[in-house]
Subunit: 362 residues, 2 copies
């Protein structure tokens, strides 16, 4: 038999009300009484039942989190950030993965209606977007981590994709590249367009506009990097750099360049996007644009928790800065090896650089 507040009350010779007051650190309790109750609590190892507290208070103390497959490393990073921030605040996290499609979302919908959580954090919930928007309209606090530029009508934390593209371009120009080949992400996503535009703009301003035969739409996959490079080489359009909108595609590009006897970066410099684990394991290591996924998770969480306290949710997207990470695929093999692959370290944090674009009280 689990020990309840009644057991504690009996053992301490007080009422349940008083025990409740002590637990929740209400002010008006006699010091002696309080210490006696606390003693009993320790002795009995009493911990309040979360669900009883939740029922009585009308809050759950938990936050729901809906993500697509955790097999995507950057999704896992976001979740880790959310988990960190939630834990700091003493909240629990109910995790839902949309991995199994519509069926997953039905499950999710059921539990959200069951008031299992006080608020919701989403990562690119493509199929659930209308459902969640409706949920939000009905009063559920929602914050979305938007990596895709879906641009929904929801409070959103995103990243400076355009600036990231611009930084990649500047970096390549600094290293003497003037004829880049761009392999974008799916153009239906806002982030692909932003990264491309930022990149194009810098090259155009420098006097090297990028012709359309040096831009091709990709799909984020490794294999696409290979096929795009093979096709471009076959077409005979010369290029001295590759900007891929995802590290996976960049990795494929490097592999294919090698197949054709080209040296990276001497013949062709390569820049990816994301700073995912892959960027440490290509050879040469990959220069890439870091996205602060973990920070996005933390920020989204802080915004959500603040809303529980009455702070209104932001109406404009909160943008976190990207950072260019220069490695061997542009600097050459002489580049110093960084200390250690990040994913195997206990804590992973980067300096950050500029402050968030949008001032939000978090």
């Amino acid at each position: 038999m689990r020990t309840t507040i009644a057991d504690v009350a009996a053992a301490a010779g007080v009422s349940k009300t008083t025990v409740s007051r002590v637990i929740n650190a209400k002010s008006d309790v006699d010091a002696a009484t309080a210490s006696r109750v606390n003693q009993v609590i320790d002795q009995l190892g009493y911990v309040p039942s979360t669900r009883a507290v939740g029922l009585a208070r009308g809050r759950t103390g938990a936050v729901g989190m809906l993500v697509p497959s955790l097999s995507w490393p950057w999704v896992a990073e976001v979740v880790q950030g959310v988990s960190d921030a939630l834990e700091e605040a003493g909240h629990g996290m109910l995790l839902y993965t949309g991995d199994r499609g519509q069926e997953s979302l039905n499950r999710f919908a059921t539990s959200s209606n069951g008031q299992s959580y006080d608020g919701l954090i989403l990562v690119t919930p493509e199929h659930a977007l209308t459902y969640v928007t409706e949920l939000h309209r009905q009063g559920m606090p929602v914050v979305m981590v938007d990596d895709r530029g879906l641009g929904p009508d929801l409070p959103t934390v995103a990243t400076t994709n355009r600036q990231g593209g611009a930084d990649a371009a500047s970096h390549l120009l600094e290293h003497g590249r003037t004829r880049p080949f761009v392999i974008t992400g799916p153009m239906v996503y806002g982030y692909s367009r932003e990264r491309l535009h930022g990149f194009q703009e810098v090259f155009a301003e420098a006097g090297y506009p990028i012709a359309s035969d040096r831009i091709v739409e990709g799909d984020l996959h490794h294999r696409r990097g290979r096929s795009a490079i093979a096709a471009q080489l076959h077409a005979g359009v010369p290029f001295d750099a590759v900007f891929a909108h995802t590290d996976l595609t960049a990795a494929g590009a490097i592999a294919e360049l090698h197949r054709h006897g080209l040296v990276v970066p001497d013949d062709v410099a390569v820049v990816g996007f994301d700073d995912s684990e892959v960027s440490w394991h290509t050879d040469p290591t990959l220069t890439t644009v870091h996205q602060p996924m973990r920070e996005m998770g933390r920020t989204a969480t802080r915004i959500l928790l603040a809303s529980f306290g009455g702070t209104p949710l932001p109406t404009a997207p909160v943008l976190l800065p990207t950072t260019l990470i220069a490695r061997e695929s542009t600097l050459g093999l002489s580049a110093p090896l960084p200390p250690e692959p990040p994913s195997v370290l206990a804590v992973r944090r980067r300096p950050g650089g500029r402050a968030a674009m949008d001032e939000v009280e978090v």
Copy 2:
């Protein structure tokens, strides 16, 4: 104001008891009554409050999951497997990451005492092991996914590390390699010892015992692959193959071999362990021993849920089979490219091979 069971009862002109019966599909309800109640439920969009149900029933319908950092891709895979299986069964998942050390574990301990979940799934909870073991002794159903060979006194799902090592050895022998260099994981972990022993045994039986100067202890990191290869080349101990206990280390080994002008696999064949995403992005792609992380998550979940239904938890570890995945780093560049990197596919599943070692009713 949220609609409750009382609202439904009033609107349908029945008692709360009857509504409850309909919701939970108890048999003895008049068909007409039931359909009327269901209509009202649909009309009002009524969904029972999870926490009220939990309080009344004494169960939560949720499972707790404690993992180290989600930044480790294989951890994320296990979580995904757990999520899949939980969702199928209509259970929720409360996720705790031990990423912030002792403080994380304290939070975790508090919520577990608060009866926030009915059972617990753990991934290598090194620091929490004694706490969790105690929890289990007090009656909390616990299943551990043990990738480290911690060999605790808890119901466990693990993998056939010894056989994985043996398979790696057989594969290298088949490809004419007789002088392997082994970079192990930390030898404090059972899995390192098992992988090594399985590997050694096969080579010894084939007449090529492995001298101790061709075995070095590693740390799972990329950088260690580089330094180990550099040192071995410097020492002048010849080798025609590398068996690394983790893909990251194997990737480092490949990179370092290239630095020294050696060709993989012509000069040196390389085999990793895990079949993590990295294995698709080394160049050449990496032959490795697949660990069924997702399946381990699913299996652990099924075992736990079965225990809720009365099936006792298994006393011996449940072992899932590893599978050797041959790629270019042993087969050569002529090896056909597989369809697509797994991590970006929606669903990731492998044939599986042999059946689980331990027969458990799941």
